[in-house]
């Protein structure tokens, strides 16, 4: 289930939004033992100023994304706005049966969006 995006243009500033991935919906539930699904989340939102200024928890920092947002404010046709993308991700582990009937625990990096940022 995903948090509804507001209208066509993603509403609000760039941030992580809730997205629950159910393995049943992707058809993996017959061989994945656990988890049944997981909170993957996703990034969406505006990267115009001042949202582009908000660093990950620290003080606002001047960086490429801020300059692009500034350029966009000064001359909208010059370059698009920066993108709202994952800034911090975390892993999950999946317990499943492989085709040799082994029970496998496998670690997958970068599966959960914890934080988003403008890049």
């Amino acid at each position: 289930e995903a948090e509804p995006a507001v209208g066509s243009v993603p509403g609000g500033a760039c941030r992580a939004r809730r997205l629950y991935v159910s393995f049943r919906e992707v058809g993996w539930h017959r061989w994945v033992i656990a988890p049944r699904g997981f909170l993957a989340n996703y990034c969406q939102g505006q990267c115009a100023l001042p949202a582009a200024l908000s660093g990950s928890g620290g003080p606002p920092a001047l960086n490429h994304a801020v300059l692009r947002a500034l350029m966009h404010a000064a001359a909208p046709g010059a370059a698009g706005l920066p993108c709202c993308v994952p800034a911090r991700l975390s892993p999950i582990s999946v317990l499943f049966f492989d085709n040799s009937d082994n029970v496998v625990l496998r670690h997958y990096e970068d599966m959960v969006v914890d934080e988003c940022g403008c890049r």
């Binding site: 017959r30 061989w31 033992i33 988890p35 582990s93 317990l95 499943f96 040799s100 082994n102 029970v103």
Partner: protein, 219 residues
């Protein structure tokens, strides 16, 4: 096997050779695998933080419980169980030997084994007095090779565990397609022979393509 294209790439990303058939029928999930999963699953840990002390960020590509580097843990059942006679014939006075076979074809050549733990469960606790387990490699259709591992076994009531890496399995060797072992359990004092109920292998590997090379154990 998946047709080339996005499906094959997805399966490869999952570490699977072909699309999984689905849950096998009579294969319960071993408690050790549940335990390792619950310790590893960050979202499970978020749900029940008591399992993971605060701030104890789990190191990626490390299996804390087993104290080794690794991002894949497999519980492999002995293939030889079904073909093993109920109690193999044994020379007079000798306890029987068993051949166990572990199918490791699912392990990719790039994976580096960091732990290979043999686990044996016996049908009955057997008399006190202690036993000696010996492990040898067994080639297909040939007798057992030289004994590679001998281990004292005080009792048979709990699972008997033996570390194979570095003895029956060379430490830097990648996984064979199948591992055949010849096992013998000799009582220290004349006693009835034990009966092997289940043999399994807990194999931890590290895929260097997804993890940093095998980190040297800290001093």
């Amino acid at each position: 096997p998946a047709s080339p294209g996005p499906a094959a790439a997805l399966l490869q990303a999952l570490g699977l050779r072909e699309a999984p058939r689905g849950a096998p029928t009579l294969r319960p999930v071993p408690p050790v695998m549940w335990h390792l999963f619950r310790r590893r699953d960050p979202q499970e840990a978020r749900v029940s933080p008591r399992r993971t002390p605060p701030g104890a960020a789990l190191r990626p590509c490390h299996v804390e419980e087993l104290g080794v580097a690794g991002n894949i843990v497999r519980h492999v059942l002995d293939r030889g169980a079904s073909s093993r006679p109920p109690q193999p014939a044994s020379a007079a006075g000798q306890c029987p030997e068993w051949t166990v076979v572990f199918d490791l074809s699912a392990v990719e050549a790039a994976e580096r084994p960091s732990r290979a733990r043999l686990e044996l469960r016996f049908a009955a606790a057997g008399p006190a007095g202690g036993w000696e387990l010996s492990v040898a490699r067994a080639a297909e259709g040939a007798g057992p090779g030289p004994v590679l591992l001998r281990q004292a076994v005080p009792a048979l009531g709990t699972p008997v565990r033996a570390e194979l890496l570095g003895t029956a399995w060379a430490r830097n060797a990648s996984a064979p397609r199948s591992l055949r072992l010849s096992l013998a359990l000799r009582p220290q004092v004349p006693a009835t022979c034990a009966r092997l109920a289940e043999a399994s292998l807990l194999l931890v590997t590290l895929d260097p393509r997804l993890c940093h090379p095998l980190a040297r154990p800290r001093r």
